[in-house]
């Protein structure tokens, strides 16, 4: 009962959907997915800043799920890999294998500056390189960490909604 009152009182927290950015990068394969993108998140060595932002992107306020994006539990179920952090040596092989486990057509999103170009970890010991050095990247999301709006916009580019 208490929960019910809370639900009624809170109502809808999701912000109204902003207009879709028509310039958001939309790789060719994304058209084939037609409004449904299942995402497997891979932490390849992130500081967890990006993870916090992903969590809020999928939280009630930004609600990335309303655009047809959904986080899933297995790369087999996924269409896109959401990779965060510079790829550490320990995760290099794991990332390749995860990429291999995804069925075609598949996409890779490099989320955050570390994933795009290793960010502050460039040349660090233990870092194998940026995500694009390991697997082909389709979409890059800049920021350290990228704001939820930016993440959502990038995902909307993929789902086309």
């Amino acid at each position: 009962m208490r929960l019910w009152r809370k639900i009624v009182k809170t109502g809808r927290v999701a912000e109204p959907a902003p207009l879709r950015d028509p310039d958001a990068p939309r790789p060719g394969v994304a058209a084939e997915l037609a409004g449904s993108v299942q995402i497997r998140h891979v932490d390849a060595g992130s500081c967890n800043g990006c993870e916090v932002e992903i969590a809020s992107a999928f939280g009630p306020v930004y609600d990335a799920e309303r655009y047809g994006a959904r986080l899933v539990a297995s790369p087999r179920h996924a269409d896109a890999l959401l990779v965060t952090g510079p790829v550490t040596r320990n995760m290099e092989m794991a990332l390749r294998r995860t990429h291999d486990a995804v069925a075609e057509p598949r996409l890779v999103i490099a989320l955050g500056d570390c994933a795009r170009n290793c960010g502050v970890f460039v040349g660090a010991y233990g870092v194998a390189g940026a995500v694009s050095d390991v697997v082909p990247v389709d979409v890059e999301v800049p920021g350290c960490p990228p704001e939820p709006e930016v993440i959502v916009a990038a995902l909307r580019g993929l789902t086309g909604r």
Partner: protein, 314 residues
């Protein structure tokens, strides 16, 4: 004739509508959580997308792994054709009764469990083991509830049970029906892997039952499994509705209009129940696996009391 049309109609309604039911349930949940939700057509978009993806044969898997998804979907379709949802006069009504329907649904689960074991992964084995545990414990409740329902009619044929209720709708308001309904509702939740028995949207492998079994499937295989799970859910909800609230269901000889009304009634009933289930899930947490037997023992007790009540209060 109208029986055949009705049976075809209900298969089509279930096949097309069940992903939408899942969509509705997700939407209800999203709204209660303050989110906007992806729209009720999202499961269909997911299925369309999955059909366009490639299928994967993991190393070391074989025919069992490949045969399971079509078999699972096949059992769901057969059950959808047999169970009285739109019409009580399905031409397949004599082929399978309530026992057979239960066994067919179990056959689907078994196919999936074997496929999960076939992958040889730890998660697959875990999912299969848990699914079979739940299945084994659910069985007594189902059969005893069937027993309770069949006493009034003297038959386990679904058609006759539902027809009898249609003819005397007030007979549902009796302890027997209420107890059996509660027992079957709990069983339905357990069979379809909803909260509090299983969480269909969990990401944590160690808490999974159903999801752990399908971790290796991709593309069209996965599409079949998701579609089949949606169909099982809607068939079971529809069956509950028909057994305890058969308003609007068609009999043997009815016209096109009556069939249309039945279809609408089915859609409304199942949607309402789905929404109710989804809303209920918001308020509940998943039970620990070893608390599930308690829940099932409770439902068994209710089913047995339903039988007992039918002689207590006869």
């Amino acid at each position: 004739m109208s029986g055949v049309v009705g049976a075809v109609l209900q298969v089509i309604v279930i096949a097309v509508g069940s992903p939408l039911l899942v969509g509705v349930m997700r939407q209800v949940r999203a709204r209660l959580e303050g989110r906007a939700g992806a729209g009720i057509a999202q499961p269909w978009r997911d299925l369309r997308k999955l059909m366009r993806k490639e299928a994967i044969a993991p190393h070391g898997t074989g025919w069992v792994f490949r045969a399971a998804p079509p078999l699972l979907a096949g059992t769901a379709l057969v059950v959808a054709a047999v169970v009285p949802l739109v019409t009580t006069a399905s031409p397949l009504d004599g082929v399978a009764d309530l026992f057979a329907v239960t066994a067919l649904l179990a056959l689907g689960s078994v196919a999936l469990a074997l496929a999960a074991l076939d992958t040889g992964t730890a998660f697959g084995g875990m999912g299969a083991s848990r699914e079979m545990t739940v299945l084994a414990l659910v069985e007594p409740t189902i059969l005893v509830s069937i027993f309770a329902l069949s006493i009034r009619v003297g038959s386990t044929s679904l058609g006759s049970i539902v027809t009898a209720t249609v003819e005397d709708p007030l007979s549902v308001i009796s302890p027997v029906s209420v107890l059996a309904a509660v027992a079957l509702a709990i069983v339905t939740i357990a069979e379809t892997g909803r909260i509090p028995v299983d969480n269909p949207s969990t990401h944590l492998e160690l808490t999974m039952i159903h999801e752990a079994m399908v971790l290796e499937y991709a593309g069209p295989d996965l599409a079949l499994i998701e579609w089949a799970s949606a169909m099982r859910l809607s068939v079971l909800l529809g069956l509950l509705a028909s057994l305890f609230f058969p308003l609007g269901i068609s009999g043997a000889s009815t016209g096109a209009l009556a069939l249309l009304v039945s279809v609408i009634a089915l859609v409304v009933k199942v949607t309402l129940m789905g929404a109710l289930l989804a809303a209920g899930e918001v308020f509940m947490a998943k039970l620990r696996l070893f608390r599930v037997p308690e829940l099932l023992a409770g439902s068994f007790l209710l089913a047995l009391l339903a039988v007992a009540a039918s002689f207590f209060l006869a």
